[in-house]
């Protein structure tokens, strides 16, 4: 594997010995490859997920869901279910209305029905909740609840949502006469339009980023345990943001916040779909309060696919103005965003379209303007999920598709066209036309590396040969992405008024072993390893000597959690800073031990570990372990210095970080069947300093597989009545190893100038960057057939239809 690296940071100790057999490692004193500490329990089946939580006397809940996309509820009769043996409680919308809990706030300032009272607004919506002695009885009792529905005309196609006379979905909101949610714009319309009027070349393309679902291995669920004696509520649920959940429960249910404990145990994948609060969680809590016993609710796969946060569903029109020789001057975008029945997207409050505003991508463009209109349809709520970096996935897809459309129009090479327009390294920090300040980057270097790795010229020669001589179609697709992650500066970014800063707390025991407590929460990212490595690098200890505690609000400081690739940019920064605070305390204690002035001490890390010593005489020093013991001893400390080394911090990021990468995908397409085979995938990522390169590569592997899934097979489709056509893994397809090539990874390292260790976050990079590369590759293969665009997913049927000149709508049922 090729890798070009620029050495960057004093923190990165280079003492790692790589085991060539396994690619794994001896434990490094800080950054470097090491096995994930959490894997010991996962590979032994000893993880502890919500469904593993079993409490004495625990009851089980199940949800009755709407079979209709849009219908008025005339009556709900639960008497037969209540009389069923083993049933402890049946909760309906009416029950909840009596507690003022029938509706709950969403993360976007809208409300969502917990259990429907007036109407159902999407198929799969929650209507009633049964609590029973066991899950079998709970399910049996669901069938005994009689709901009388009056079906209403649904709005399924977002493009029809604003039509005159379209059914009004949200008649619960006073004065609402249509399905419009918001208009949002960014950039300079006048300047952009003026450039378009004078431009030598303009291109336009409509495209849909279809509705998809993150489909984590573990579905959602909760165990709620309300203790009637202490008044304390404990909720186990796989949330990506336990502290935010706690505050919301306090605000919504009126429970005192210190009497709420949210525990997010091991989580089987989040991808943004586990940020919000789902009706099932509230039902489990109400069920526990009503029965006085713990209540478990676990949704099944179909429920997860039908009702939890979907992703994307952006109908986009992109336009580019350029010179004849390929200099991009301006870009203009119009988006129709399908937000479903309730506006429940999870993103910073001031950004109703997420960070879509970075749609100018990696290119130095003079002017840009976008307009986004959000609408309701009779589909499940959500929209920001599936590792989308708050809609940057959509933005990258748009601009990278448009670059290929422009290349097609100009008959230019897509790699050369990109190279010509990339932001040059000397332009950083770079302010984009829509006001984003990119922190650092060397884009041409990353693209050159990717092209070299894939042997681009050779592939183009092979393609020319194939086009001449016949045979399977060869396609080469490029995507260059820039991400904006690590939300974010409190001044601009909050969720429901909660600023996006995160806390960290580091305790050092007398023997020098440390416990780090962080507010973010791992859904598989490897925080227990990465964050231990950050502490290890700062204090000169082994990562094995640092325990990371997370996911329990009673044990960790406040913060907004893990999504939007923010854990290393925000909590990782907090971790470095709290460790530096500990190190500074250690300096004072060491000074007392050495009877020297703190200013005369210097810090060093050797293979033996970290130590403070008198400048110029390294032998006259104390290790961090010795200092920790002394800090707890009867050593006389200077005035004003407390004992112990423990420290606390809150990190408010000064800016987002901007990871980037250059991806090249190579496909073979069978024109007789429309089947696509991904032959190769080269991914060059620059996420700044890599703390544990193995974990970074794992994140990239997963995201690339996601990209192949979205580009080639994943789709949440609906028929015209709003029936969900992808409600199981038989119809909602996840990619397997059979569809994935052996990934070829490369790296460049451009540290973030404002992050304490120069890291940028990488959890979503590959998911954001890869779909466009795959789609561009397939369309490159189809170019001799005059095909310029076709929407995802490029299933065999869609590719074949495109070859016949009749691309089909992918979001609705077969047309």
């Amino acid at each position: 594997m090729t890798a070009e690296t620029t050495d960057t940071t004093a923190n990165a100790t280079d003492t790692t010995a790589t085991d060539t057999e396994t690619g794994a490692t001896a434990t490094p004193m800080g950054f470097g490859r090491m096995h994930r500490k959490e894997d010991a329990r996962f590979i032994r089946g000893r993880g502890n997920y919500v469904d593993d939580v079993r409490l004495p006397g625990m009851l089980h809940g199940a949800i009755l869901r709407s079979p209709h996309a849009h219908a008025r509820i005339l009556s709900v009769d639960a008497s037969a279910a209540e009389a069923h043996p083993g049933v402890k409680a049946v909760i309906t919308g009416e029950t909840l209305a009596g507690m003022d809990l029938a509706w709950m706030p969403t993360l976007s300032g809208d409300v969502q029905a917990v259990l429907a009272t007036d109407k159902v607004r999407f198929q799969g919506q929650e209507v009633a909740f049964v609590v029973a002695e066991d899950p079998y009885t709970a399910r049996d009792a669901l069938e005994l609840i009689e709901v009388d529905y009056e079906p209403l005309e649904p709005v399924i196609d977002a493009r029809r949502a604003l039509d005159e006379g379209a059914p009004v979905i949200r008649d619960d909101v006073e004065g609402r006469t249509g399905n419009h949610i918001f208009d949002w714009e960014a950039g300079d319309r006048e300047q952009t339009d003026a450039i378009f009027e004078r431009a030598e070349v303009t291109v336009a393309q409509d495209m849909l980023y279809p509705r998809v679902h993150p489909a984590p291995l573990e579905t959602c669920g909760a165990v709620a345990d309300f203790d009637r004696v202490t008044g304390k509520l404990t909720v186990w649920c796989p949330t990506q943001a336990p502290h935010a959940h706690r505050t919301l429960y306090a605000l919504v249910a009126g429970l005192p916040e210190h009497k709420i404990r949210v525990i997010s145990p091991d989580v089987g994948g989040g991808f943004g779909g586990k940020v919000g609060i789902y009706p099932g969680y509230v039902c489990a809590i109400v069920g526990s309060i009503a029965t006085g016993r713990p209540v478990k609710w676990m949704e099944d796969r179909s429920e997860n696919l039908m009702s939890t946060a979907f992703a994307r569903d952006y109908h986009m029109r992109g336009e580019i103005a350029a010179t004849r020789d390929g200099k991009v001057l301006a870009i203009r975008v119009k988006v129709l965003a399908d937000h479903g029945a309730f506006n429940g997207t999870a993103q910073p409050t001031k950004f109703p379209a997420g960070f879509f505003g970075v749609f100018t991508g990696s290119y130095d463009i003079r002017a840009a303007h976008c307009e986004v209109t959000g609408v309701h349809t009779n589909k499940a709520p959500g929209g920001v999920a599936y590792a989308c970096s708050f809609r940057i996935t959509e933005a990258v897809y748009l601009v990278e598709r448009m670059m290929d459309v422009l290349a097609c129009e100009l008959d230019a090479d897509p790699a050369e066209l990109r190279m010509k327009n990339l932001i040059r390294p000397e332009r950083f920090p770079y302010t984009s036309p829509t006001g984003w300040e990119y922190d650092s980057g060397d884009y041409p270097r990353a693209l050159r590396l990717a092209l070299d790795m894939v042997e681009y010229d050779k592939l183009r020669a092979e393609q020319a040969e194939r086009r001449r001589d016949g045979g399977p179609l060869l396609g080469i697709g490029i995507s260059f992405f820039t991400e904006a992650v690590g939300a974010g500066p409190r001044k601009h970014m909050d969720i429901l008024g909660l600023g996006m800063a995160d806390g960290a707390e580091l305790r050092v025991h007398p023997t020098g072993k440390a416990v780090l407590r962080v507010s973010c929460q791992s859904q598989g990212q490897g925080h227990e390893t990465t964050f231990a490595q950050i502490v290890a690098a700062e204090l000169g200890v082994s990562p094995d000597d640092v325990e990371v505690v997370h996911g329990d609000t009673d044990q960790t400081p406040f913060g907004l959690g893990t999504y939007g690739s923010r854990s290393t940019p925000v909590s990782g920064a907090a971790t470095a800073i709290v460790a530096r605070k500990v190190r500074e305390r250690a300096r004072l204690v060491a000074a007392a031990m050495l009877e020297a002035s703190p200013d005369d001490l210097e810090w060093s890390v050797s293979e033996a570990g970290g130590r403070w010593s008198v400048q110029g005489s390294a032998e006259h020093g104390r290790t961090i372990q010795e200092i920790a013991m002394a800090a707890h001893s009867n050593l006389e400390l200077p005035e004003g210095v407390e004992g112990h080394l423990d420290a606390v911090t809150v990190y408010n990021p000064p800016n987002l970080t901007y990871p980037f990468g250059a991806y090249v995908c190579v496909v073979d397409v069978d024109p007789g069947t429309g089947q696509v085979k991904v032959r190769r995938f080269v991914a060059v990522d620059d996420c700044g300093v890599r703390i544990n390169p193995m974990i970074v590569e794992g994140q990239i592997h997963g995201g690339l597989a996601d990209g192949i899934g979205m580009a080639l097979m994943q789709l949440m489709a609906f028929d015209e009545d709003g029936n969900h056509l992808g409600a199981s893994f038989m119809d909602y397809l996840l990619p397997t190893s059979m569809e994935c090539p052996s990934w070829e990874l490369g790296e460049t390292v451009t540290p973030s100038p404002h992050h304490p260790v120069g890291a940028k976050g990488v959890g979503e990079s590959a998911t954001v960057g890869s779909p466009a590369a795959v789609v561009n590759a397939v369309l490159d293969a189809l170019r001799p057939y005059g095909v310029r665009h076709a929407d995802m997913p490029l299933t065999p049927a869609n590719v074949w239809s495109a070859l016949q000149g009749t691309p089909i709508r992918t979001d609705l049922a077969v047309t």
Partner: protein, 305 residues
């Protein structure tokens, strides 16, 4: 959590015992073998049998081997066993082609050949493969054993010639000297049901096609077969033109329906294209001498890519 509705469970200890249980519990009972279709349907509560009659312990239904120039496949033979068997690959490469693209190893370890046919899913791969090789189904009931040609076994979607109280016990496939076969499938993703698939068997005699067998699945072909295309090929010299025409005829005579896997026009196109490819591959095997009698390559599909 998906849980089935309440049901009773009986474990059969022999074929007569299984038949007795079927008689005792009547039409609301269901036979369970691998369970890979029935159990998901029960968990979704689309199937709600009162009683499950488990035949997994019936060794007598697990026989797989050649008897008097006939390949005999017990109804309880697992997909994995069928795929791993060298004799099956030697005489009927079509079965190994098909089995490699049926579901995934976990399903193949448990799912059975007989269960696949009795489920009678209109997209079942093995139904097309058995139709192509003109197998015979052996059905046992209270009155004894009867044989049904495979092309009369399927009566429609999810409907077979196995009457209530009866059990499919084995399949018989005559080994035809000089015949070669192949199976071609297009799927959206590894392990998916086919968008369309075709199987073909060719028996050549004196440079012309003595007998052609063509199976089709997921495209609404009656009895999973393409008799018009088979008739067309009889007596013709094998070759690109004849195979393409056979594909066109097969495509014209099937009745695909649009669904999530694709529009009807595409499936009809695939029917023709895959029939052409399966015939071409079968003819290639005949020419290579890998017709019934020689070995076929093994290995997984990744190896082929």
């Amino acid at each position: 959590m998906q849980v089935p509705a309440r049901f009773e469970y009986e474990r059969a200890s022999s074929v007569p015992h299984a038949l007795a249980l079927l008689e005792r519990y009547g039409p609301e009972s269901r036979v369970i073998a691998g369970g890979h279709s029935l159990i998901p349907m029960m968990k979704l509560r689309l199937a709600r049998p009162d009683v499950l009659i488990d035949i997994n312990g019936l060794e007598e239904l697990s026989f797989l081997g050649v008897e008097d120039d006939v390949l005999v496949i017990g109804a309880l033979v697992r997909h994995a066993q069928f795929l791993a068997d060298p004799a099956v690959g030697r005489y009927f490469p079509i079965f190994h082609d098909a089995e490699r693209v049926i579901a995934d190893p976990v399903v193949r370890n448990r799912g059975t050949v007989g269960g696949s046919l009795c489920q009678a899913d209109p997209s079942e791969d093995l139904s097309a493969a058995f139709a192509a090789v003109r197998a015979t189904a052996v059905i046992q009931g209270p009155g004894g054993v009867r044989e049904v040609p495979i092309r009369r076994f399927h009566r429609g979607p999810y409907e077979t010639a196995v009457e209530p109280g009866e059990l499919l016990v084995r399949l018989r496939v005559p080994i035809r000297p000089g015949a070669a076969s192949a199976y071609e499938k297009v799927e959206r993703r590894a392990g998916d049901w086919p968008v369309a698939a075709a199987g073909a068997q060719l028996r050549l005699d004196g440079g012309v096609i003595a007998e052609a067998g063509i199976g089709l699945t997921a495209v609404g072909a009656e009895h999973f077969a393409a008799p018009e295309a088979e008739e067309y090929l009889a007596g013709k010299a094998p070759g690109a033109e004849a195979f393409a025409e056979a594909g066109r005829i097969a495509a014209a005579n099937c009745a695909p329906r649009a669904d999530q896997r694709g529009p009807a026009a595409y499936k009809r196109h695939l029917a023709g294209e895959l029939v052409r490819r399966a015939l071409t591959r079968a003819a290639g095997r005949a020419a290579e001498g890998t017709a019934q009698g020689a070995g076929d390559r093994t290995g997984d599909r990744r190896g082929e890519g």
